[in-house]
Amino acid sequence: MEENIIQVENLSKSFDVSSKEPGLKGTLKHFFKRETKSIEVIKNINFGIKKGEIVGFLGANGAGKTTILKMLCGLIYPSQGKLSVAGNLPYKRRSSFLKNITLIMGQKQQLIWDLPPIESFYLNAAIYDIEKIEAKKRIKKLSDMLEIEKELYIPVRKLSLGQRMKSELLAALIHNPNILFLDEPTLGLDINAQNNLRKFLQIYNKETDATICLTSHYMKDITSLCKRVICIHEGSLTYDGRLEKLLKKISPVKDILFICKTDKDAIELSNSGFIIKNQNQKEITITIKKESIKSTLKKILNKFEIEDLYINEPPVDEIIGNILVKEKV
């Protein structure tokens, strides 16, 4: 059996958090006598990841996804449990380990703000001890793949968010890491930029057999990249397995927005016995079971005059909010 490149056993992490009561009295009390309590943010988690796998970490805000990623890449010390990434104890942050991994965060940037990204790339290349000729080759290859050849020479502050994110990716991948940790990499990007980034990650994974651990709030990131997902709820692992299986279990419905041609159609449609999620004059959102989408759509389109329709996946947060928070999947 192939050995796991990432192995996590009974991993726990606690943080000391201080709380403050509202008002001046609370502020003064908080200033002079701070009360802190220890909160267990990760509770006894176990999983293993094989080389070349793309694994999505799902969970609501504050579930502990980012904390797990940060422990895996060695930024924070675990409170308890065993952790091994590419045969290393991550928190020791040995040079050989750091040359093997990378962390990309959608909301933090490492590029030098006032200079073109190419300057940051060469600096990173020097830090990772990559010869200039080799660095040039890698920059050429990655910028081709990411389609940012022209942006290499424009100051970062003048790039769009999408171009900046692509440049961040290039800066983070210049040392050809085998393990990528991505924390909400598509945050704030428009649809095109999101798609490009996903496509790039797919190709990168295929070409280099790199292992990718990803957290995201966009269901599309997860569905187009990850075959396997790990669900975290309030620090505990609630599901670890194939995405398809999870989706069938937790999201058996789709929301469809119908825009009716006339008010009469809208009223009739809303009184036809479907599960109405939302109604705003001629716009009606109906929740339909996935297995009956075809027949229901046919029925509605035949019976009513529909001007337009949109099919929506319920957002991942909503799915998780509704189902994962309540029980073990």
Binding site: F15, T66, K70, C73, G74, L75, I76, Y77, R93, S95, S96, L98, K99, I101, T102, L103, M105, G106, Q107, K108, Q109, Q110, I112, W113, D114, L115, E119, S120, Y122, L123, N124, A126, I127, Y128, D129, P155, D183, E184
Partner: protein, 264 residues
């Protein structure tokens, strides 16, 4: 890690940060003007002090100018290296960008202490050195190898003490998150270093020698310059610099264990 690689990385730090600074021309020019005005103002202040007296704490005007020269060099170094880098530590920790630094296969203290540079501080260093050359002339000091060696050694130790103090305070950000005020206090203490240690009362002298070693930072190099420093003073400064540096380094490595990284 190899020294050659570190030198290469440092030359890139220099390139990128000078290029970044030069993106804003007006800012650089204003910084240059500020440096000149600041030196003129300080010398003017000294002349006022010496208007009615020949010496303060045993130092005459020409000798006190040496302290001013050394202070100007140190202030230039502060503005060139310490200020742009060490104040950023607070930002790195508050915003969580220290993550990127810690994940590089490079010494994190080296990275955050030296990755930026403010070229406007160079002018202050040049002004300070020029003032010292002028002081050589008016105090009729002869330069020889031993003299230069001692001057540079004590000046280097002063820089190390100042850096370590500043770095120590910035490191506490890992627990306290915001320590801008503390570094401001340190800057004000450095301001005190413009005057000879002997011009203060006994209790203040003790305070500035033991608790905040500002006295070491300007007074001892100045005494070396005048040839009145005692050997034990020089050895003590080297010792204090070594201890401060080791403590700041150890403290940083210890503090990193408590780094929780800003939440996203």
């Amino acid at each position: 890690m190899k020294i050659r690689q570190y030198l290469k990385i440092y030359s890139l730090f220099l390139n990128t940060s000078i290029a970044s600074e030069l993106e804003y021309k007006a800012n650089v020019i204003i910084d240059f003007i500020t440096a000149i005005l600041s030196l003129v103002g300080s010398v003017f202040l000294l002349t006022i002090f010496f208007q009615n007296t020949d010496n303060i704490g045993g130092w005459n005007f020409e000798q006190a100018l040496i302290i001013q020269g050394i202070y100007t060099i140190l202030n230039g170094i502060t503005n060139t290296w310490f200020n742009p880098n060490l104040t950023e530590i607070v930002k790195h920790i508050r915003e969580g960008t220290l993550d990127f630094v810690l994940l590089k296969p490079l010494d994190s203290q080296f990275f955050i202490s030296l990755n930026k540079i403010a070229p406007s501080g160079f002018l202050e260093i040049i002004l300070g050195v020029s003032l010292l050359f002028y002081c050589l002339d008016i105090n009729q000091i002869n330069i020889n190898f031993g003299f230069l060696f001692l001057c540079l050694t004590t000046l280097f130790c002063s820089i190390v003490i100042l850096y370590s103090l500043w770095f120590l305070i910035s490191t506490t950000t890992i627990w306290f998150v915001k320590t801008w005020n503390a570094t401001e206090v340190l800057r004000s203490f450095l301001y005190i270093g413009r005057f000879p240690l002997n011009s203060f009362s006994f209790s203040l002298r003790i305070f500035f020698s033991i608790f905040v070693p500002i006295a070491f930072i300007t007074t001892i190099p100045s005494e070396v310059f005048l040839g009145i420093a005692k050997l034990w003073e020089i050895l003590l400064e080297i010792f204090v610099a070594g201890i401060f540096f080791i403590v700041s380094r150890r403290f940083w490595l210890y503090a990193l264990k408590y780094y929780t990284s800003a939440s996203s």
